[in-house]
């Protein structure tokens, strides 16, 4: 038999190499990643583990800032060093071995200490998508955080000590269009059908359908008809309560065909309609979260510098107030359901066409705004994407790390509240902060030489920190002891865990997809526990 020779569509090398991740963030996410430039300060094991999982998926470029010389301990826990690296600059050695992972990634090594760059060439940091720092002293943390806050560059501060680790993300503002929620709310407009939909739904006659057609009526139609029937005896209200929804279910059951013995015939579409009563009868509404977004000052007081997100939010506001009559543009997505191909394709095209039409209205509004502001144009595809995800838009308003270190009232009462809980994850936060304080006072990690002697000293640091917080419950002494046992040791698997997580968050920040941690993550590898705090 002659082999068929189908025309194989061109699949580029790059598409093949990145196939498994493109299924998660799409070609546009990949493009954003390839435009990203990460700066890492200090190529510790944690630092290189982070870079590894950003270089592999193909970030545009990485810059390592590190003035340290490779030690034996570095080689022991850092995979991106060789024995021959000993005595050489840690940044350039790790960079060399990291870049082997992906030839498409550009890399640079800078030998000056971060403190010096901050002092002599602060503009250096302006070109990065994200700056990540590990093992930097208390003072530098604050100077760097303040500078990056001022120039509006995302900053991730990371720690790994013994079984403990943490990272803190500092961003002034982060907006996400594609949050990829696990359960997308369906948007069917059964309560407010647009004319084409109403016409389509009204054309159905459930009772007149023969058995075969009956089994193919989409559940959307069944639900709509049931509500209409119910409304006749209920002043055209929309069913809201559980009791009313049960009445809808009873009506649906009446619709089901019966066999010669009067028993209901199993019809999957009617089963689906019954199941959908609880989820699909939610009235169409403007979520409070989205209302807050489109009426926030960033959306109202646009400037030439406003980001496309806020310009689109402003256009969205215009739509909601005018054509949308208080509602967001239609999502235009139809869930799969038991029905014939004809019904499904028709219904799908009705929803899609309406969504396209509404997105076009928003696009025209965007164009108007862009014209008024004289700013860069926004593509129609971007606006469509925005409208498609209008229900799930997300804004993270960040806070400055310097505020957290200053322990103002809001921060201390927040910490105090968590310290009163039996869960010890906030205790770990205090310990990591105290160990940092210890390091800056004693020029070594607590327990670096020997554990017992440093317990009292570390306790003093904890007490100092807690007295600033003015809360009574102390982290138990055994946690202080455990921190001294660690002696500042960096354990590879702990850094590898955090490295994976931090790389992941950096990718979320660069691609502007999925919600990143807001804003502090604590990991305890001893108890396999994690927690997220928002400072």
């Amino acid at each position: 038999m002659a082999s068929p020779s189908p025309k194989s569509p061109e699949q580029s090398e790059k598409n093949k190499q990145y196939d498994r991740q493109l299924r998660l963030w799409g070609d546009h996410g990949q493009a954003a990643l390839e435009n990203g430039h990460i700066c890492l300060i200090n190529a510790t094991a944690l630092g290189t583990e982070i870079l590894k999982s950003i270089v592999l998926p193909g970030v545009g470029a990485v810059t390592i800032v590190d003035h340290n010389i490779v030690s034996d301990e570095d080689i022991g826990c850092n995979f991106f060093l060789e024995c021959s690296s000993k005595g050489l600059n840690r940044g350039s050695e790790t960079l060399r071995l990291l870049l082997e992972l992906n030839p498409a990634v550009q890399g640079h090594a800078v030998y000056e200490p971060a403190e010096q760059i901050l002092r002599d060439n602060p503009d250096f940091f302006k070109s990065f998508s994200v700056v990540i720092a590990t093992s930097i002293p208390e003072k530098t943390i604050q100077d760097l955080a303040q500078h990056l806050w001022d120039i509006n560059i995302p900053f991730v501060l990371c720690r790994s000590v013994g079984f403990l680790g943490s990272f803190r993300i500092q961003m002034k503002e982060h907006t996400i269009i594609e949050t990829h929620p696990e359960n997308e709310q369906i948007d069917l407009r059964l309560d407010v059908p647009f004319p084409v939909l109403a016409e389509y739904l009204d054309a159905f006659n459930i009772d007149a359908a023969d058995l075969k057609d009956h089994g193919h009526i989409p559940w959307i139609v069944i639900l709509y008809k049931a509500v209409q029937k119910w409304q006749k005896t209920n002043q055209n209200r929309w069913p809201m309560s559980r009791k009313e929804k049960n009445e809808i279910k009873d009506i649906i059951r009446e619709f089901i065909k019966k066999d010669e013995n009067g028993l209901p015939i199993e019809e999957e579409n009617f089963e689906e309609a019954l199941r959908a009563v609880n989820t699909a009868l939610v009235p169409t509404f403007l979520p409070v979260k989205i209302q807050d977004l489109i009426y926030s000052s960033s959306a109202i007081n646009l400037t030439k510098e406003s980001s496309p997100f806020w310009i689109m939010c402003s256009a969205l506001k215009g739509f909601v107030e005018a054509e949308g009559k208080g509602k967001l543009p239609l999502r235009g997505v139809l869930p799969d359901m038991t029905t014939s191909t004809e019904h499904y394709v028709k219904l799908q095209s009705i929803y899609r066409a309406q969504a396209v039409m509404e997105a076009e209205i928003v696009y025209r509004k965007v164009q108007e705004i862009v014209g008024q502001l004289h700013c860069d144009s926004i593509s129609e595809a971007d606006v469509k994407l925005f409208c498609r995800h209008a229900y799930d838009l997300h804004l993270i308003k960040g806070s400055n790390i310097v505020e957290e270190y200053r322990l103002g009232n809001a921060v201390t009462s927040y910490i105090g509240r968590y310290l009163e809980e039996p869960d010890v994850m906030m205790v770990h936060y205090i310990l990591l902060r105290s160990a940092e304080k210890f390091q800056s006072e004693h020029c070594r990690a607590p327990g670096e030489w020997e554990p017992e002697g440093d317990i009292a000293k570390l306790k003093t640091c904890v007490t100092k920190l807690l007295s600033d917080i003015s809360c009574t419950p102390f982290p138990k002494d055994d946690h202080i002891h455990e921190m001294c046992r660690y002696g500042g040791a960096e354990i590879h698997s702990v850094s590898a865990f955090l490295g994976g997580c931090i790389a992941h968050e950096a990718i979320k920040i660069i691609t502007k997809q999925y919600k990143p941690v807001n804003n502090t993550f604590i990991y305890d590898g001893a108890s396999t526990n994690t927690a997220t705090f928002t400072f």
């Binding site: 058995l211 075969k212 089994g215």
Partner: protein, 183 residues
């Protein structure tokens, strides 16, 4: 929690060292489960199984001879292939007898929910047997695999019955030839 390793523990035995009674191959979880399923198989009187190799419990045939309904008098053979991921995955079942049936196509594919989308590990071979038997008593025109047969069953029961009979006696229905499968 136990302390698995004391430092005193010597290196583990080197590779290949056999311990007493150790070299008999162990039965897989799928094997243990199918043995259980089959030992408890409770066949309706219209059904029978055939094991070409009684030592191979993973591959066998089910014969259904309906005693009522459209297919009365016919003899229909299904092949069962139980894979290593049983019962996480259902057995693969095919109809080896050509049959004019709304839910069975001419390649022997069977449209039965528990063979695909509704399979659960708690179900057994018995559940499938009953499901298949039911297909012959109550062919379901709403989930058609042989669309022609399904349409006919809905529009002209009489004609459908004639066609089923013709197919079982051996002959053409439309352009498709069916081997005789009457008992």
């Amino acid at each position: 929690m136990i302390k698995l390793f004391s430092l005193k523990q010597q290196k583990k035995d080197e590779e290949g060292s056999a311990r007493a009674g150790g070299s008999q191959k162990k039965a897989s979880a799928a094997q243990l489960r199918i043995t259980k399923d089959l030992n408890e198989l409770n066949l309706p009187k219209t059904c029978n199984t055939e094991f070409p190799d009684p030592d191979d419990l993973l591959n066998f045939k089910l014969i259904i001879c309906p005693d009522e309904g459209f297919y009365r008098g016919g003899r229909f053979v299904f092949s069962f292939k139980v894979g290593p991921n049983y019962p996480h995955e259902p057995p693969k079942v095919k109809c080896e007898t050509a049959v004019y049936h709304p839910n069975i196509d001419l390649e022997g594919n069977v449209c039965l929910n528990i063979l695909r989308e509704d399979w659960k590990p708690v179900l057994t071979v018995n559940s499938i047997v009953y499901g298949l038997q039911y297909l012959f008593l109550e062919p379901n025109p709403e989930d058609p695999l042989n669309k022609e047969a399904a349409d006919e069953l809905q529009s002209n029961r009489r004609l459908f019955e004639q066609h089923v009979q013709r197919a079982m006696r051996g002959g053409y229905v439309g352009s498709n030839y069916f081997e005789r499968c009457l008992k």
